[in-house]
Symmetry: C2
């Protein structure tokens, strides 16, 4: 059984990461999405193990101590992280696994797993990014400007991702990511089985 690939997808708030990832998974049903762990309160509509693994602070800290996260971070008083074990199980079962995470987490994963394929999703322009943030109900202009400022910080890290895909038309962005995944499979290190006969 061929192992799956670990795919890190990041990009600024408002760029449409979630929509791109959802469309990608609809087009390719063998792809899986990693589930994060968090110490924050479960919300009424959320299911443990589906939206998040909900952990106590003690459980989370034990997992950190045991080095069982691909990446983790603290955000407004709560811990968030990607448990490595369920990801590895899906990879071993032959599924490509997507981590949809913010850039600091993305960099942690890339350092830990040099085999990860990393894609940064960029907006066609900052103007469009601002409009998207406003359009989705963030009418608070101060919040929008803060998110755009955060996007600038993330763009500075983008060159450390292997690929950059623009989310202009959703269909194109999804096709671009599929192109990347197909090309990665054609890399000679993944095609060694073709050469065996010559030995």
């Amino acid at each position: 059984m061929k192992k799956g690939r670990l795919i890190v997808i990041s990009g600024p708030s408002g760029v449409g990461k979630g929509t791109v990832v959802k469309a990608l998974m609809e087009r390719d049903p063998q792809v899986r999405l990693s589930v994060s762990a968090t110490t924050r309160q479960m919300r009424p509509n959320e299911i443990d193990g589906v939206h998040y693994y909900f952990l106590s602070c003690g459980e989370f800290e034990t997992m950190i101590a045991e080095d069982r996260f691909l990446e983790h971070a603290e955000y407004v008083g709560n811990f968030y992280g990607t448990p490595e074990e369920p990801v590895n199980r899906m990879l071993e079962a032959g599924h490509d696994v997507i981590l949809e995470i913010e850039v600091q987490g993305g960099l942690q994963v890339m350092q830990r797993r040099s085999d990860a394929i990393s894609v940064f999703i960029a907006a066609p322009s900052f103007e469009i990014l601002g409009n998207r943030l406003r359009g989705r109900g963030d009418t608070d202009e101060e919040k929008v400007l803060k998110r755009l400022q955060q996007a600038r910080v993330e763009y500075r890290v983008a060159p450390r991702y292997q690929y950059i895909v623009v989310n202009d038309r959703l269909e194109d962005a999804v096709s671009d990511i599929q192109t990347v995944l197909r090309a990665e499979a054609l890399k000679s290190e993944h095609q060694q089985h073709l050469l065996k006969e010559a030995d």
Copy 2:
């Protein structure tokens, strides 16, 4: 004007490199094929500057001395090589340029031009490669076996190419190379212009 990419395509005799390259150029008319130089005699149906640049031994040796070849080699008493200048002109004009060359030349080009995209074309199997060599009129079995032996040597070098594409169905092989070229354009080092706005 965006510069074109240098694309090295190699693969054993009989694998169908020429057919793949021709089909690729038909699908993408902006792609150009590099013309080699040689000191061998011009054949009646050949045109200087189209099939080859036909050079005297003195001219060829001067160009070697002036370091004006991307790669060059001697083969059964004649020199063959890829002049760098015409390739650079096409690249500057925005064309992707294909070098369809044997593996020793391919390695020379990769060493000289680290930006080159390299693709090794493999056969679905050695049995099929043998049949293809026989099918195209090489009924001399000794010659076929010699070519298969040469193919084994070339396969050993294949891992030094970035990508390996199997030529089973022609259409698939061409699509695979197009996938590689599109994915290469999405690499973050080629997408820096998208991030400028954030500076």
